[in-house]
């Protein structure tokens, strides 16, 4: 039976590397370089004429659905959104190209982060065949060129383990906190408000929001409230007030998306079983705030 399990596990993952996760220099380096990968401007104001914020939300929601359905690694979606934002910060784009760009960005992020990446054909089917694989591949080069081939962007996920290991949580609570934090990160990526925030702040705010949310139901943390925020802020050198504001914004976005979900409910076709298998974050609907 064990052998069978091994054979069925098609995704190869590296084991967590203690040299990377338990060395403070790594965290410090991440903090130093993270700003390089932020979009250069708030592009709805200064670059885009056709594309509106709600369109970004539409394409982001679609991308998240695709990533969840394809059980992509958690980083794929936020990384793809980083590519999309950086591209849009530099290139005026008509809205009819937006879904193609979203597909291209998922294509690239998946290739960077996954052992079995999404295929061009599959992504085209997800656009209801409104684009052809050939177009996807051509635009892949355009996006790569405009991003200067700088694909290894820092994402909030890069900080999660560094933050979690410095918190005094009981170790059995960590997986749940991690899962919720990952959900918040995905949620942040769908909302343009967070596009220009440093990834470390989103990560810290997401962990904070996860702990606060979970704390209401069960005892996950010995630290709460201001003490927790202060410790979190210290870990990633974030300003305490900024962090509080960020965490509050995350909670607002969560509430909005829960409301949105309740409105949409009834056509939800996902089974619980399916959600459990996902390596993408817990669906927001699983979270009780």
């Amino acid at each position: 039976m064990e052998l069978l399990c091994c054979e069925m596990d098609r995704v190869r993952r590296a084991v967590p590397d203690a040299n990377l996760l338990y060395d403070d220099r790594v965290l410090q380096n991440l903090l130093t370089i993270e700003e390089r990968y932020l979009p250069q401007c708030s592009y709805f104001k200064c670059v885009q004429k056709d594309i509106q914020p709600y369109m970004r939300r539409m394409v982001a929601t679609w991308m998240l659905e695709v990533c969840e359905e394809q059980k992509c690694e958690e980083e794929v979606f936020p990384l793809a959104m980083n590519y999309l934002d950086r591209f849009l910060a530099g290139v005026p784009t008509p809205k009819t190209h937006l879904q193609l760009l979203g597909a291209v960005c998922m294509f690239l992020a998946s290739k960077l982060k996954e052992t079995i990446p999404l295929t061009a054909e599959k992504l085209c089917i997800y656009t209801d065949n409104s684009i052809k694989p050939q177009e996807l591949l051509e635009w892949e080069l355009v996006v790569l060129g405009k991003l200067k081939w700088n694909l290894a962007a820092v994402t909030p996920h890069d900080f999660i383990e560094h933050i979690l290991r410095k918190l005094p949580q009981p170790s059995e609570k960590v997986p749940l906190i991690r899962k919720h934090a990952q959900t918040f990160i995905a949620l942040c990526a769908t909302d343009f408000k967070f596009a220009m925030y440093p990834p470390s702040m989103i990560a810290t705010g997401s962990v904070g929001a996860a702990i606060c949310g979970l704390q209401q139901d069960e005892d996950v943390s010995s630290l709460t409230g201001d003490a927790l925020v202060e410790l979190l802020a210290k870990i990633t050198n974030t300003d305490v007030d900024c962090l509080k504001a960020c965490q509050e914004q995350i909670e607002v976005v969560l509430l909005n998306s829960l409301q949105q979900f309740r409105q949409d409910q009834g056509d939800g076709s996902k089974s619980e079983d399916e959600l459990d298998q996902a390596s993408t974050p817990t669906d927001v609907r699983d979270i009780d705030l």
Binding site: W62, T119, L137
Partner: protein
């Protein structure tokens, strides 16, 4: 390995995620915009590297280009052996119609990799070592070709190579 890669997650029948978001897509406009953007990438590269990648001529600027014969590159970059598997991963063939694409006939593509460049300081008061001083232009920040820089050059060279 010969199996289709993502069969573990086939698209569910009637998946709600399969949808077009912003109406019909104009293929011709896509292709026009693609060409224009690729051209602007080439232009940016030209300015950054002071090298005309279309005619393969060095231009005046921070980099001094010189031809190098018999570059000691790893075989990976020189032979065609590694190519097949690369394309398979992306699931689908690279289109070969656009001249802007870097995929081409393998062996030839790499012949002209044998151009190297070095950053030349323009004046004594701006030594090449100064790491990112406030007035330093983008192209001057690096004093040494890094792997990505090299790749950048290669890409453009290939681009020009494919023109008859």
């Amino acid at each position: 390995m010969s199996e289709p890669s993502r069969d573990a997650h086939p698209i569910p029948r009637g998946s709600k995620a399969c949808r077009r978001l912003f109406g019909p897509v104009d293929s011709e406009q896509l292709s026009r915009d693609c060409d224009a953007l690729m051209a602007s990438c080439v232009q940016e590269a030209c300015e950054r590297w002071n090298f005309d990648f279309v005619t393969e001529t060095p231009l005046k600027g921070d980099f001094a280009w010189e031809r190098v014969w018999g570059l000691g590159l790893p075989k990976l970059y020189l032979s065609s052996g590694s190519r097949g598997s690369r394309d398979d991963l992306g699931g689908g063939k690279r289109p070969s119609s656009s001249p802007a694409l870097l995929q081409g006939t393998a062996q030839e593509d790499h012949v002209d990799l044998s151009l190297s460049c070095a950053l030349v300081p323009r004046s004594p008061e701006r030594p090449e070592e100064s790491p990112g001083g406030p007035s330093t232009s983008q192209g001057r920040k690096r004093r040494q070709t890094s792997m990505t820089d090299f790749y950048h050059s290669k890409r453009r060279l290939v681009f020009s190579k494919r023109r008859p």
